[in-house]
Amino acid sequence: MRAVAKKSSSLLLLAVLVVFAIISALPGDVSQIRLGPLSLLWWWGGVLGPLIAVLAALVGAGARDEPSAE
């Protein structure tokens, strides 16, 4: 359980970065599409991405805090 939680946390954190790279590389300025006041790129890179990264780290920590079955 611990190893799985640690690995999934790390992968989720890397996924946050990969999603940003994909959004910024999308053709046709898709990253500049406005969703409300901000562009898609700013929503992910400046607002949601950091929040999701923290949640990903916390999910792993929560799982680690559970008694180990190993």
């Binding site: 611990r2 640690k6 946390s9 790390s10 954190l13 890397l14 946050v16 970065l17 940003f20 790279a21 910024s24 300025d29 990253s31 500049q32 409300g36 006041p37 901000l38 562009s39 790129l41 700013w42 890179g45 400046g46 607002v47 991405g49 950091p50 929040l51 990264a53 923290v54 949640l55 990903a56 780290a57 916390l58 792993g60 920590a61 929560g62 680690r64 805090d65």
Partner: protein, 497 residues
């Protein structure tokens, strides 16, 4: 080192957190990648930590790891002292005043064994010092951060506001970043606010003509699009209200899209920055440090990191909205200190806001020295952690770093070099712990990583990096970390054969 205060203070040195708003202001969306990396790197490092009972952690920490970490810590302290010097210069004092005060404060904390307990309070003061002036700016702007971003992103140009000191009384041109000539994007009438000597380079087709111009107070000169202007030290000029600020992005849309910087940077540039920052995070905060932070400490770290990136964006957006003249000549981190005086009408409020920022920088620096020394102590298992509190050693370090800080360098680049160097040596062992459990192999991998890093760094400084080698010379960790990992992998294969 499992407390939130220690983790945050070691990671968020002033050279890093003060660079963030400057990067957002200069590059717009181009800075989002750096911001996201600065949030994810410590979190990734903490998830990689192992339990103290892990047998892999019984291997001694190789000397090269401790030595490299020491050099990285010294370079980060050096970067902090450079920021202190830049701040002193911006406030109108000599550079060495800021450096000496910061170095003495850092050294005094070395003598105080219980300084680690003060970290949460120091960080809280730094956060308030950065946050409260921003609240004042937002109140003056009268719009929320999202609306402010929308207004900036749809702005047709960044122009001098009518009430700007650059327009009304004129200011010394040296207060602009001043690392190069001012490049004008449109016709602009400049008026001398005293005796000034200017050098104007005008382009006529393919030909560039340079001429020296001397003006007395009240005399004007008109520059055209594409003209470059350099001024003698102390030259005081007035700019025209409503004209584009030289050095500012073309439009708000270009800024929001990151056209001026990293959003359009190459894949290798982005990857290099990622390896440097993530690897540096692992080197500073990851294995072989033992013990994972509690969920509470981790959530504090996470909330603070998100808070810092949001504050940085807030500073950039409100500055671009209310004080676009900060773009004049290019952005540097300490120019944030100018913003309250440009935005706030009340001199007292502006002075207080500026003082809060200065305190935030100073206190943030002190906190970072305490946490970085604690990190070094944690690596020095054979010396019982004495390396972090040796007063003689740190007197020498602060003295040397203070002397080096008299030479103006970009603190953000220096911090990245420190993180990259630490990543080159320590990150491979943290990522391949089984292979690195033999000290000889870990040392060989560390030497390989450090050699590649040093060679590429040197090649970059000598300008040897061509177009394809450029990103690797710019962020040598991009090649150095894989080199160290390759050595570990080969050694593990050989041992298994």
């Amino acid at each position: 080192m499992t407390g939130a205060g220690g983790i945050l203070a070691a990671w968020l040195t002033p050279a890093v957190w003060l660079a963030l708003p400057a990067l957002f202001l200069e590059q717009g969306a181009g800075a989002l990648w750096a911001g996201l990396l600065l949030v994810t790197a410590p979190l990734l490092a903490l998830t990689l930590r192992r339990a103290p009972s892990d047998p892999l952690l019984r291997a001694p920490v190789p000397l090269i790891h401790v030595a490299t970490l020491f050099l990285a810590v010294v370079a980060l302290i050096w970067a902090g002292l450079v920021v202190a010097g830049d701040v002193a210069l911006r406030l109108g004092g000599p550079r060495w005043h800021g450096i000496a005060l910061a170095a003495c404060g850092g050294l005094l904390l070395t003598a105080w064994r219980g300084a680690g307990r003060a970290l949460p309070a120091l960080l809280l003061i730094a956060a308030l010092g950065l946050g409260l002036p921003l609240v004042l700016l937002a109140r003056v702007a009268g719009v929320g951060p999202l609306e402010a971003w929308r207004v900036v992103a749809t702005s047709p140009a960044f122009t001098f506001p009518p009430g700007s000191p650059w327009v009304a009384a004129g200011r010394v041109l040296g207060l602009a970043k001043g690392r190069g000539a001012l490049l004008f994007q449109e016709e602009h009438r400049l008026t001398a606010a005293g005796e000034v000597a200017l050098r104007l380079a005008t382009r006529d087709g393919r030909q560039t003509t340079e001429r020296e111009i001397s003006l007395t107070a009240g005399q004007s000169v008109t520059v055209r699009p594409g003209d470059r202007l350099e001024a003698a030290p102390g030259a005081r000029l007035r700019f025209e209200a409503g004209r584009r600020v030289p050095g500012a992005p073309e439009t708000g849309m270009a800024w929001a899209a990151g056209a001026a910087g990293g959003a359009r940077a190459g894949f290798l540039d982005g990857l290099g920055l990622a390896v440097t920052v993530l690897g540096g995070g692992i080197a500073l905060l990851g294995p072989p440090l033992v013990g994972r932070p509690s969920a509470r400490a981790l959530s504090t770290v996470g909330i603070a990191l998100v808070g810092v990136i949001w504050l940085a964006q807030g500073w950039a957006v409100y500055t671009a909205l209310r004080a676009p003249e900060v773009f004049l000549g290019g952005i540097s981190p300490e120019r944030l200190l100018d913003v309250p005086a440009l935005v706030l009408v009340s001199r007292t409020s502006a002075w207080r806001a500026q003082a809060m920022l200065v305190i935030a920088v100073a206190v943030g620096f002190f906190a970072s020295t305490v946490a970085l020394r604690a990190r070094l102590s944690a690596a020095d298992t054979t010396g019982g952690g004495e390396i972090g509190s040796d007063l003689g050693l740190w007197s020498m370090v602060f003295g040397m770093a203070a002397l080096a800080s008299l030479w103006a360098v970009d603190p953000w680049r220096l911090a990245l070099a420190a993180l990259g160097g630490a990543a080159a040596v320590l990150a491979p062992a943290a990522l391949l712990p089984t292979a690195a459990s033999r000290p000889v192999v870990a040392t060989a991998a560390g030497i390989a990583g450090l050699a590649v890093f040093a060679l590429l760094l040197l090649a970059g400084r000598l300008g040897a990096g061509g177009s394809w080698l450029g990103p690797v010379c710019d962020q040598p960790a991009l090649a150095a970390v894989p080199a160290g990992m390759l050595v570990l992998w080969l050694a593990a294969r050989r041992a298994g054969a």
